[in-house]
């Protein structure tokens, strides 16, 4: 199984734990530079940036390179955060994966799904992970943040939060934090029709984390990621509490609700279908974000 915490944080107790180097593609853009500073302020070791034509320069002392290959070679980074505009995403992601990135966190929204398919295929052939596109990123609260999520909703702890949505990830993590449930890891898989890391992949990746006390799934209408995950829970069993929330119960059919992937065709992608499968998997589904910690407490009491 993929050791996501190992990639993000390194080995506990060893030198450099929590200081794994990260390369940022598109670091000098408005969005990229703003979030590079916020990530650095959180404690993430931003080792280098990539902007074609700006190699040799720097951003607040962080060295810039023309290509991902040079940046990765100079820093030994395995983690690459991609802030490149959607229409240039494919080329930049390919460059990062071919240069040996093991974890690509793909922030841009509005990436053509065709380009995502190609990136996912390339990543698969190179044994690399892609989170996103259209993801807020991934975070180990208190240690590392790779993405655009604000710091305030999160606190270190032992719950995993896996979400299709950005703002709902913040909202629900905030609710959890206030109820005393900190998070071991939180990640957004992205709101697009095709995600590099699927909900079920993310679940398989976190389920074995030592000391994990529970998993919260933040789903939404569209596709069948939640159903696939529920099926996996039924088939493999999982002895710790899982609680879900599904957004989009009241959404009209065949309308894209903000996210490219949030669309219902017939029963495919509907909230009822997802809630039914989670119910079969003995996973309670909250009606409101604020209900998530209440249900989690209930599950923990057994």
């Amino acid at each position: 199984m993929i050791d996501i915490l190992g990639i993000l944080c390194g080995k506990e107790g060893e030198a450099g734990h929590g200081k794994r180097p990260v390369v940022v593609q598109g670091m000098t853009g408005t969005f990229g530079s703003r979030h590079t500073r916020l990530m650095r302020d959180y404690g993430t070791n931003i080792a280098a940036g990539v902007t074609p034509g700006k190699g040799g320069g720097d951003l607040d002392g962080i060295p810039l390179y023309d290509t991902a290959g040079e940046a990765i070679a100079a820093t030994g980074a395995e983690i690459v955060a991609n802030f490149v505009p959607a229409r240039h995403f494919l080329a930049s992601a390919r460059e990062a994966l071919e240069a040996g990135a093991r974890l690509l966190v793909a922030i841009p929204e509005h990436v053509p799904v065709r380009d995502t398919l190609e990136v996912v295929e390339l990543a698969g052939s190179r044994d690399a992970l892609v989170i996103g596109p259209n993801t807020p990123g991934v975070m180990v609260p208190g240690t590392i943040k790779v993405g655009i999520m604000p710091a305030s909703p999160f606190a270190p702890g032992d719950i995993a939060v896996l979400s299709k949505s950005g703002t709902l990830l913040y909202e629900i993590s905030d609710n959890l934090t206030q109820a005393g449930f900190g998070q071991r890891i939180t990640l957004g898989i992205g709101g697009d029709p095709v995600n590099g890391m699927r909900l079920v992949d993310a679940f398989d990746m976190v389920r074995g984390i030592d000391g994990l006390r529970g998993v919260v799934i933040v789903g939404e209408i569209g596709g069948d990621a939640e159903e696939t995950l529920a099926q996996r829970i039924i088939e493999t069993g999982f002895d710790r509490p899982v609680v879900a929330y599904i957004a989009g119960r009241a959404a009209p059919k065949e309308k894209r609700m903000g996210h490219a992937g949030a669309i219902v065709y017939g029963n495919y992608g509907s909230a009822e279908s997802k809630v039914n499968m989670f119910t079969k998997a003995n996973v309670p589904v909250a009606r409101r974000p604020a209900e998530v910690p209440v249900l989690l407490k209930g599950k923990m009491r057994g």
Binding site: R114, Y245, A290
Partner: protein, 369 residues
């Protein structure tokens, strides 16, 4: 973008997929002329981007000019699942001996394109038992696969060849136009053995629009939707009276659900995206100001990085110049929310600590006026 039937067929024609002769008619005058050219019997078909047209009476057979005069005005203007018929397709009727199903779609879970075919067409594919399903990778269906699918659904001889060639064309279309779905349902086998696409459904990827200038002529968004898209917002118009605004698709959907649970009826879903500024929130209010049915505005912003004072400034500006006139019920969470509350004190914006409270007040507020 979901293409209308006649738009999908326009694409089909470019790929050599056979069609019945037809004309697009937005008026009765045009329909009379088209009918003279096509001859009777013919079929009039409502052009709306939703399924279930037949059941709703949006597809009618006409045997004579008298029937056309009677039925055309019924179909034009007919509203099906909330979509008004703005134009009608007239097609020559044909003698059909059987109906097949064929589609190629983006398979989200398996991250590949998938071909679905069946010898039972003309019904919803979900209800068909004998489906042939083949994953075809990122390159589309090759000749061997097309032939194999034809044989798998029980076709032989010339019928198999016609089907395989139709599927190959449909696959090329899907690959070149970056379609999430290209479907022919039904693919009709005529008395002479030839195959024609009786209906067509194509859904393209809005995110690849920048490299498909040729598809933009099919775009039929409302003026407000166009303005929202230009701003990077996502807007879905509804027929209720409470405008639901927020940042992030998931959060706005969640607010929309809770409003509906509380008996409220949304007039729109408006996601202003992650990076709300004074300008973007003000522009959102301008869009809402143009939706006359709106009687209350419900704002739910989780400002992680966005300052709530930015939102407060934009709201005050929108009330100050009369852009919006209905009350706002807001839950603004995040940086400087106390200051935002002070700024909004005495204005038409009522602030709440939780979204549940804001929703309760918005539902009452919309009823009161």
């Amino acid at each position: 973008m979901r293409l209308l039937e006649h738009q999908a067929k326009d694409l089909f024609a470019g790929y050599g997929i056979r069609l019945l002769e037809g004309r697009v008619c937005p008026t009765i005058e045009g329909a009379r002329e088209a009918a003279r050219e096509l001859g009777y019997p013919l079929v009039i078909k409502s052009q709306v981007p939703v399924g279930g047209r037949g059941k709703a009476g949006g597809i009618q057979k006409c045997a004579s000019a008298d029937e056309l005069e009677l039925k055309f005005p019924q179909v034009l203007g007919m509203t099906i699942k909330g979509e008004r018929t703005r134009t009608v397709l007239l097609e020559k009727a044909a003698e059909i001996s059987s109906e097949l199903y064929v589609a190629i779609m983006l398979n989200r879970g398996r991250r590949t394109y998938t071909v679905i075919a069946s010898s039972e067409g003309g019904v919803e594919i979900e209800s068909v038992k004998g489906q042939t399903i083949r994953d075809v990778g990122l390159g589309g269906a090759d000749a061997a696969t097309c032939a194999e699918v034809a044989s798998a659904i029980g076709l032989g001889g010339e019928a198999a060849a016609s089907f395989a060639s139709t599927l190959a064309s449909l696959s090329s279309l899907a690959m070149e136009k970056e379609a999430e779905l290209a479907e022919i349902n039904p693919l009709a086998v005529l008395a002479d053995g030839s195959m024609v696409a009786l209906d067509g459904k194509v859904i393209t990827d809005d995110n690849s629009a920048f490299r498909h200038e040729e598809l933009q002529k099919y775009r039929e968004a409302s003026e407000l939707e166009d303005r929202a898209a230009a701003r990077g917002f996502s807007l879905v118009e509804m027929d209720g009276d409470v405008a639901v605004v927020g940042n992030g698709a998931g959060l706005v959907m969640s607010t929309f659900d809770m409003l509906t649970d509380s008996g409220g009826r949304p007039s729109c879903f408006l996601d202003v995206g992650g990076g709300a500024t004074v300008e973007s929130v003000y522009e959102a209010m301008e869009l809402i100001g143009k939706m006359r049915r709106t009687r209350a505005i419900l704002v739910n912003l989780y400002g992680g990085i966005v300052r709530t004072t930015t939102v407060a400034t934009a709201l005050l500006k929108a009330y100050g110049d009369g852009t919006i006139k209905v009350p706002t019920f807001a839950r603004l969470k995040g940086a400087e929310s106390e200051k935002a509350r002070e700024m909004l004190d005495g204005s038409r914006v009522e602030m709440f600590g939780t979204v549940e409270e804001a929703i309760g007040a918005a539902v009452k507020g919309a009823r009161r006026r």
